[in-house]
C-alpha cells in the first residue's frame, strides 16, 4: 500500500500545486471517465514558439487521476507541443513512480488523454490509442 500510494501521490491529491482555471488560455479540453466518475479539464498557455508557458487542471476523481493531472501539467511547462504529442503511458507512470494494473491505468492516463485531445483534437487521439 505504501508503495502504491506513494507519499507524492497522496500529497498531490490532497494539496495539488496546479489546480485551477487559466483565463485566457490557448488550449482547453474537458473529458470524463463515466465508469469511475472522474472529470478533468486541462488549460494550457503557449508562447509564439508553441512552447508551454503555463498549464493547470480542474476536476474531481481518484488520487491516481488527480495526482497524475497535477504532475503532468507541471511537467509540460517549457516543453514544445510536439514533445507533448510524443508523450506516452510510460512517461505518466514515470511521473507517478508506480506500476498500475489495466483498470487503474485508465485513471492515470485520463490526464494525458485530455491534454492531447485539447491540443490535437479527439479524433487524432483516438486513432493513436487504437
Amino acid at each position: 500500500m505504501d508503495d502504491f500510494y506513494r507519499e507524492l501521490i497522496i500529497d498531490r491529491y490532497k494539496s495539488p500545486h496546479n489546480k485551477g482555471r487559466l483565463d485566457p488560455h490557448d488550449y482547453s479540453y474537458e473529458d470524463d471517465n463515466p465508469l469511475c466518475g472522474d472529470e478533468l479539464r486541462i488549460d494550457v498557455r503557449v508562447d509564439e514558439n508553441e512552447v508551454v508557458t503555463e498549464a493547470s487542471f480542474e476536476g474531481q476523481g481518484c488520487a491516481i487521476s488527480m495526482a497524475s493531472a497535477d504532475l503532468l501539467v507541471e511537467h509540460i511547462v517549457g516543453k514544445q507541443l510536439a514533445e507533448i504529442k510524443a508523450m506516452s503511458k510510460e512517461d505518466i507512470l514515470e511521473l507517478l513512480g508506480i506500476e498500475l494494473g489495466p483498470v487503474r491505468l485508465k485513471c492515470a492516463l485520463l490526464s494525458l488523454k485530455v491534454l492531447k485531445a485539447g491540443i490535437y483534437g479527439i479524433e487524432e487521439l483516438e486513432e493513436e490509442l487504437t
Partner: protein, 416 residues
C-alpha cells in the same frame, strides 16, 4: 412453497469450507475477504465438480445424439431445468428458458414480446433503481418503435415511491419491468404489491431477479409476475447461463428470439416450423456444462434453505450497516437492513471509491467501486460513484470487522 417452515441460523464457517477459493490468500499472509458477491458469487466445490464430471464422463451435444453420452448429458441438463422450475415455483419446466444471463433474458423479452406487442406511443414503466440491463434494451426498442419509457421515482431513503407509481399506472403502461432487489441500494422492492397494482391497471409484469433469486425465497406464482430474469453466476453457479422465466400462455404467443438449430422442428428452403417450449427460444448448442453446474448450485442453496439464506444475510447486513455507520465520514445509501438485501454501498468523505477499493485490496478485501451499472440511481443521490460491499452465505462478522478496520486505514492515509 419456497419459504421454509423453520428458520435456523446458517453455519457460515462450515459453509466456507465448501468453497475452495475462500481458502486462498491475495498476498502472502493476507487471506481473501470476498465482498463482491453482488457482482458474482463464488462457487462451491460441488458445482465445480458437477461440471468437471460432465466433461470427464458425459461430454456430448444434447437433444440430438442417439448414444449413451448424449442421453446422459441431455438428462443431466434437463434435470437442472426441472430443478430450477421447482426452485422458483414455475408451473412447468417449459416456462424455464436458458439464456446467457439476466441481460440476455431481458433483451429476449424486449426483442420477442416487445416487438410483437408494443407500438408507437405505448408505455413501458421502469424504475429509477434499475440496473442498466433493464434500461438499455427498452431504450433501444423505444428508439426503434417510438415507445414512451417512464420511471418510478425513488424516495430519499432508497425506496420506490409507490404513490408516484400509482399515478404512473393511470397512464396505461403495457408493461411494468422492475428489479426485486437493487444491486446498488440493496432495496428489496414489494414485488407482490407492485405486480398486483400493475395487473389491476392491465399491464404485464416483468421482474429482474438477478439479485433477489440468489438471496431469498422467490415464488413466481405467489408474486403473480409474468416474466422473470436471473443469472446463475450470482447464485453459486457458473457464468454463461441464466434464466428467462415466462408464463407459458404468453411464451406460446411470442415470436422466436434467435434463429438456428434446436429452436426449429423442421426446416425447408422456403420456411421453418418452430419447436416447442422452451426450445423455441434456445437456438444453437446450449451451455451444457453450465446448465448442469447451475442445477448443482440450486441443489446447494436448497440444502441451506432460502429462508435461512435470507435470514442469515439480514443479520450480517444489519451488523455491517451498524459498523460502517460508526466510521466518521462514511455514508451508506439505501434503506435500513429490514428492507435491504446484503449490500452496503457507501461513500467516504474526501476519498474516491477507487482509492478506497485499492487500499482494501491491499488488505485482501475485494469490493466493487464505481457506479455498479446503475448510473441513474447514483445521479439521483448526486454521487458519481460508491464503494460497495456485498455479502453472501459464506461471509462472517469477522470479515465485516476486517472491512471496518481497513476503512480506518484508508482514513488514516487520506487524512479525511
Amino acid at each position: 412453497m419456497t419459504s421454509d417452515a423453520k428458520v435456523h441460523a446458517l453455519d457460515a464457517r462450515k459453509i466456507r469450507s465448501d468453497f475452495p477459493v475462500l481458502g486462498r490468500e491475495t498476498q502472502a499472509g493476507v487471506p481473501l475477504v470476498y465482498l463482491d458477491n453482488a457482482a458474482t458469487s463464488q462457487k462451491p466445490k460441488m458445482v465445480i465438480d458437477s461440471m468437471t464430471h460432465y466433461y470427464e464422463h458425459q461430454n456430448a451435444n444434447i437433444h440430438r445424439g442417439i448414444h449413451r453420452l448424449a442421453e446422459e448429458a441431455t438428462e443431466a441438463y434437463e434435470a437442472a431445468r426441472l430443478r430450477i422450475a421447482k426452485f422458483i415455483d414455475a408451473r412447468s419446466w417449459r416456462e424455464i428458458i436458458f439464456t446467457r444471463n439476466t441481460t440476455e433474458s431481458i433483451n429476449l423479452l424486449a426483442r420477442s414480446w416487445g416487438h410483437a406487442n408494443l407500438q408507437s406511443g405505448d408505455r413501458v414503466l421502469l424504475t429509477e433503481m434499475e440496473h442498466h440491463s433493464n434500461i438499455v434494451p427498452w431504450q433501444m426498442l423505444a428508439a426503434e418503435r417510438g415507445l414512451v419509457l417512464e420511471f418510478v421515482p425513488l424516495t430519499d431513503d432508497g425506496m420506490l415511491d409507490l404513490e408516484a407509481y400509482r399515478s404512473l399506472l393511470e397512464r396505461g403502461p403495457k408493461l411494468v419491468s422492475f428489479t426485486q432487489m437493487s444491486n446498488m441500494l440493496g432495496t428489496i422492492t414489494p414485488a407482490k404489491e407492485i405486480a398486483e397494482m400493475a395487473r389491476a391497471a392491465g399491464a404485464l409484469v416483468a421482474v429482474d431477479g438477478a439479485q433477489s433469486v440468489p438471496h431469498m425465497p422467490v415464488d413466481v406464482q405467489d408474486l403473480g409476475v409474468d416474466f422473470m430474469a436471473f443469472s446463475a453466476h450470482k447464485m453459486l453457479g457458473p457464468t454463461g447461463i441464466g434464466v428467462f422465466y415466462g408464463r407459458e400462455d404468453l411464451l406460446k404467443e411470442m415470436p422466436p428470439f434467435l434463429g438456428g438449430g434446436d429452436m426449429i422442428k423442421r426446416v425447408q428452403l422456403d420456411g421453418f416450423t418452430l419447436n416447442e417450449l422452451p426450445y423455441k427460444f434456445e437456438a444453437g448448442t446450449p451451455p451444457i456444462a453450465e446448465g448442469i453446474g447451475f442445477g448443482a448450485a440450486i441443489e446447494y442453496l436448497e440444502s441451506l434453505g432460502m429462508g435461512n439464506v435470507h435470514a442469515y444475510e439480514q443479520q450480517i447486513t444489519e451488523y455491517a450497516l451498524d459498523r460502517l455507520e460508526e466510521i466518521p465520514g462514511v455514508r451508506v445509501y439505501g434503506p435500513s437492513y429490514k428492507d435491504k438485501g446484503a449490500v452496503a454501498s457507501f461513500t467516504m468523505e474526501g476519498t474516491h471509491p477507487h482509492d478506497v477499493a485499492q487500499i482494501l485490496d491491499n488488505e485482501g478485501i475485494a469490493v466493487r467501486a464505481g457506479h455498479h451499472c446503475a448510473m441513474p440511481a447514483h445521479e439521483k443521490y448526486d454521487i458519481l460513484a460508491t464503494t460497495r460491499a456485498s455479502f453472501y452465505v459464506y461471509n462472517t462478522e469477522d470479515e465485516v470487522d476486517r472491512l471496518v478496520e481497513a476503512l480506518y486505514k484508508v482514513k488514516g492515509l487520506f487524512g479525511a
